[in-house]
């Protein structure tokens, strides 16, 4: 029997850690968390003002309809089409959503701050910041915000803002307060370019899993509201209905799933190089497989008659539960060869 004290040759430069830079990096993390809390509050304000905004829009619409009815009285056949278009038109140019705009601006700022935090951390240790849980968490926050903001350039996702920024703030706080690890060099077995590939893609897919988790929760909320014909929480009308949330979740997960598949493959390649064994049923490997299988089950459920909707959504929730377990519990409490939490 051999104790595993794996060690590596791949040298990223015998770089001593720079304490000044790493402290600066920490300050950027705190700044980002504060800014994102403000962003969350702005998004909340935007949701809160939604019912009033809708009421005013309806009023305007009614006025416009009156007018256009008068106009279209003459032309017979095209009437309905014109009317529809006008109604749509007023709906499409509602009053400016100031709070949502502020929320988006703050989100960009928070994103840039966490980006600076990641870059400075990386500079302070002279390697990619992928060596321990603290670093996974800050890179994860960076990716979640990046994916969300990238998405926002193509679609109007402002009303989802709070549900994405919320988990990000939580991650940043956990990173700063619970997972924090001093900047330092890597365990030798982590000094390999496969680390960058494997861990970067892993964090990226976790970012997608996280956003998909938010949309799944929103799916349940909206479904529940539709089922009881809710009128109390009108501000939630700002968020698209359950069907859209269901489709959005699927859309996010078909991005996350191949990324996770690649993560597992890259992990196996790395394990083969570092430990001589591409699959050793190490707890982390087991949980990565479990996550993969659960999300595969989700995709199957979506294609199985009678398993769409809520049942599939429950599987997606279970999948994210496994993701969380893999990150929080397996890293810290379970003995294995992936004990790199730095804690």
């Amino acid at each position: 029997m051999i104790t595993l004290t794996p060690s590596i040759s791949f040298d990223w430069g015998g770089h001593a850690t720079d304490v000044g830079l790493s402290n600066l990096s920490n300050n950027f993390l705190y700044a980002s968390a504060v800014v994102l809390v403000l962003a969350m509050m702005s998004f909340a304000a935007d949701l809160a003002t939604y019912p009033g905004r809708m009421a005013r829009a309806e009023q305007r619409e009614a006025e416009a309809a009156e007018k256009s009815a008068a106009v279209s009285a003459g032309s017979s056949s095209g009437g309905t089409a014109v009317l529809e278009r006008t109604a749509e038109g007023t709906g499409a140019i509602p009053e400016k959503r100031q709070w949502a705009g502020i929320g988006m601006s703050l989100s960009w700022l928070g994103f840039l701050l966490v980006a600076a935090c990641v870059v400075l951390r990386s500079a302070s240790v002279g390697r990619p910041p992928l060596g321990n849980m603290y670093e996974f968490a800050i890179v994860g926050a960076f990716f979640v915000m990046g994916a969300f903001l990238g998405w926002s350039l193509r679609r109007d996702v402002r009303s989802l803002g709070i549900f994405v920024v919320g988990p990000t703030v939580l991650t940043e706080m956990l990173a700063g307060l619970v997972f924090y690890t001093d900047a330092s060099q890597l365990l030798p077995s982590l000094k390999n370019y496969w680390l960058s590939i494997h861990v970067t893609v892993a964090i990226l897919s976790v970012a997608f899993f996280t956003i998909a988790f938010s949309t799944t929760i929103l799916y349940f909320v909206q479904k529940w509201r539709e089922d009881i014909k809710d009128t109390k929480y009108k501000f939630m009308d700002a968020v698209p209905g359950s069907e859209v949330m269901d489709r959005t979740t699927y859309g996010l997960l078909i991005i996350a799933f191949p990324l996770w598949t690649f993560t597992v493959i890259a992990g196996a390649i790395w394990a083969q190089k570092a430990w001589g064994n591409y699959w050793g049923w190490d707890p982390k490997e087991v949980w990565s497989l479990v996550i993969w299988v659960v999300y595969a089950a989700y995709l199957h459920a979506r294609a199985t008659a009678g398993w769409g909707g809520k049942k599939a959504a429950y599987i997606a929730l279970a999948g994210f539960g496994c993701v969380l377990f893999n990150f929080c519990v397996v890293n810290i409490f379970i003995v294995g060869m992936h004990s790199y939490s730095g804690m």
């Binding site: 595993l4 690649f262 196996a268 591409y278």
Partner: protein
């Protein structure tokens, strides 16, 4: 896809009776088998099996596993006397080799074969089947649109055909009927191809992993620095795991000698940081040959940088210290002189080991204790090491006399079996010695033990032969490609009808074209699209196609988006 809806069709065949008598469906043996097969290969079963597999894999990450660390299993069983044996009966310490675990994945594989092979046949037929005819009313399709374009019908049809071709669609242009020309196209057939590829690769991957388990082997050995040459053979490894189908003649007699092993530990952080003393670098220089006495080469061996010898890969997995220990009898005759590996227990390399001296007389002699690279004495924990480097090396030993190998059974080189031995005493209390490099310490009877000044390291090597790993990697990557294909491609049918603008027969009442353009210069294109499964971007894709056609004709896209959704 035939499997999705077929689950209950077999059972209802006998329900036509007049009386309320419950008719058990007469299926017969063959029928029952067919019914079972259909159940097993249904999508629902696959879904359940996947979920069960996920749940079944979990205990293996919670309980210690024999295949990974047998020592922890023994400890666990000692600590949990009541529940331990029960868990053991349920294979909780061998989850991934357990019959019930195998049952799940074998059922899943059978289900996979039963599902995928028929789908391959169906898909192969579908790939060759002709494209369907254009539906009458395109505006009733899930996505539709129409535009008037400044081009002759001929040019427009040609542009449509080219645009679709470029996007990978299979295209058919029908002859004009009543001045109206129809274009049918189908795209995304590779989606199903990708999906089937993914499932097939999954199957191959599992077979490749199985091949590694059956035909592969793994041998671990500890080789001290600068010592004799290691020769690979069945008997020369410390532990050897052979797959059931391995022919021991396949273990080739390559040789390997560890010339030097360089290990660096972290010292540039505060002493109380958990990072202090962590290994940072680990590089060996080795001399290898393909057989004893053959030509040798010297090369580098490091983790992530294995050495390949005759099809076997040799990995550097562990390291530790092997102090050279000498034991002499009271007259000065050398009884024992060799590099003795000690096994590290923690990050500071507090290492345990044993010195077995069968040559001692009248009774055999054994020493047991610690090697500490940076020795300190802690009030509570006794002798400990505070740093993995050799800052203050010391051996801390006790001694036993008696029968070293009481049952003649193999035993660990790092521990003494003291069943038939008695502890050596110094007066009333047990004899204990601290030996520093270059020092010699006497036992009460005059026997001496000493440690050389130079303390070599040992390298923990693992030789592995995995015949399936290339196939496993290949199928995994190919499967990933198939997966991406099946996730990104959409199965779509696109239909166009083209006719000269203003000369229509008004069979499409939704649209009225009153304008009459310059004859031959304007055409009307009516478009519709149909998707298999869910496709939220169908309309967007159709509009993009129309934009593409207009651009191809040199016009600016009109983008007057479609009506029915």
């Amino acid at each position: 896809m035939t499997q999705t809806k077929s689950t209950d069709s077999g059972t209802k065949s006998g329900s036509g009776g007049r009386k309320p008598r419950v008719l058990a469906p007469k299926l017969g043996v063959l029928g029952t088998l067919r019914w079972l097969w259909r159940q097993l290969t249904s999508m629902r079963t696959a879904l359940f099996l996947l979920l069960i597999l996920a749940v079944a894999a979990v205990p293996g990450s919670i309980f210690p596993q024999r295949s990974i660390d047998a020592g922890r299993v023994t400890t666990y069983l000692d600590e949990h006397q009541t529940i331990g044996p029960w868990l053991d009966k349920l294979s909780m310490f061998d989850v991934y080799g357990a019959p019930w675990f195998a049952a799940i994945y074998i059922l899943l594989l059978i289900s996979l074969v039963g599902c995928v092979l028929p789908r391959c046949v169906v898909h192969a037929k579908a790939l060759r089947s002709p494209l369907p005819r254009v539906p009458k009313r395109l505006s009733r399709l899930p996505a539709s649109s129409e535009r008037t374009v400044d081009a002759s019908t001929g040019d427009l049809v040609e542009a449509a055909r080219e645009t679709l071709r470029r996007k990978g669609y299979r295209v058919r242009v029908d002859d004009a009927v009543d001045g109206e020309q129809a274009v049918t196209a189908e795209g995304g057939r590779l989606r199903e191809t990708g999906n089937l590829l993914f499932h097939l690769c999954l199957l191959i991957l599992v077979l490749a992993v199985a091949a590694d388990h059956l035909m592969g082997w793994r041998g671990d050995v500890i080789v001290p620095e600068g010592n004799d040459t290691f020769v690979s053979a069945v008997g020369s490894y410390n532990t050897l795991d052979l797959g059931p189908w391995v022919n021991t003649d396949d273990i080739k007699p390559w040789t390997l000698k560890v010339n030097k092993l360089d290990v660096t530990f972290e010292k540039n952080v505060p002493k109380d940081s958990p990072q202090f003393g962590q290994p940072r670098d680990f590089i060996a220089s080795v001399t290898t040959g393909s057989a004893p006495g053959s030509k040798t080469t010297t090369r580098r061996l490091a983790v992530n940088d294995a050495v390949k010898l005759d099809g076997t890969s040799v990995y550097l997995l562990g390291n530790g210290y092997a102090p050279v220990i000498t034991v002499k009898d009271p007259k000065g005759k050398v009884l024992y002189h060799q590099a003795t590996p000690f096994l590290p227990q923690d990050n500071a390399y507090r290492s345990v080991g044993a010195v077995k001296v069968p040559a001692a007389s009248p009774k055999e002699l054994g020493f047991f204790g610690f090697f500490l690279p940076t020795a300190t004495f802690d009030d509570k924990m006794g002798p400990i090491s505070t740093y993995a480097g050799l800052d203050n090396p010391a051996l801390v030993l006790g001694a036993y006399r008696g029968d070293l190998f009481p049952d003649g059974t193999p035993q660990s080189v790092y521990t003494l079996n003291t069943k038939k031995m008695t502890q050596v005493k110094d007066g009333k209390s047990p004899w204990r010695a601290v030996v520093k490099p270059g020092q010699t310490v006497k036992l009460p009877d005059g026997t001496t033990i000493s440690m050389d000044k130079k303390i070599p390291r040992w390298a923990g090597l693992s030789a592995r032969y995995d015949p399936g790993k290339g196939t496993a990697l290949g199928s995994a990557l190919l499967g990933l490609a198939g997966l991406i294909m099946s996730m990104t491609l959409r199965r779509r049918r696109i239909f166009f009808k083209v006719r000269a603008a203003g000369r229509g027969e008004e069979d499409d009442k939704d649209f009225d074209t009153n304008e009459t353009g310059p004859a031959g210069g304007r055409s009307l294109i009516t478009a519709g699209a149909l998707a298999k499964g869910e496709d939220p971007r169908l309309q967007v894709a159709l509009d993009a196609l129309l934009d593409g056609i207009e651009t191809r004709l040199g016009n600016t896209p009109t983008s007057q988006a479609g009506s029915a959704r």
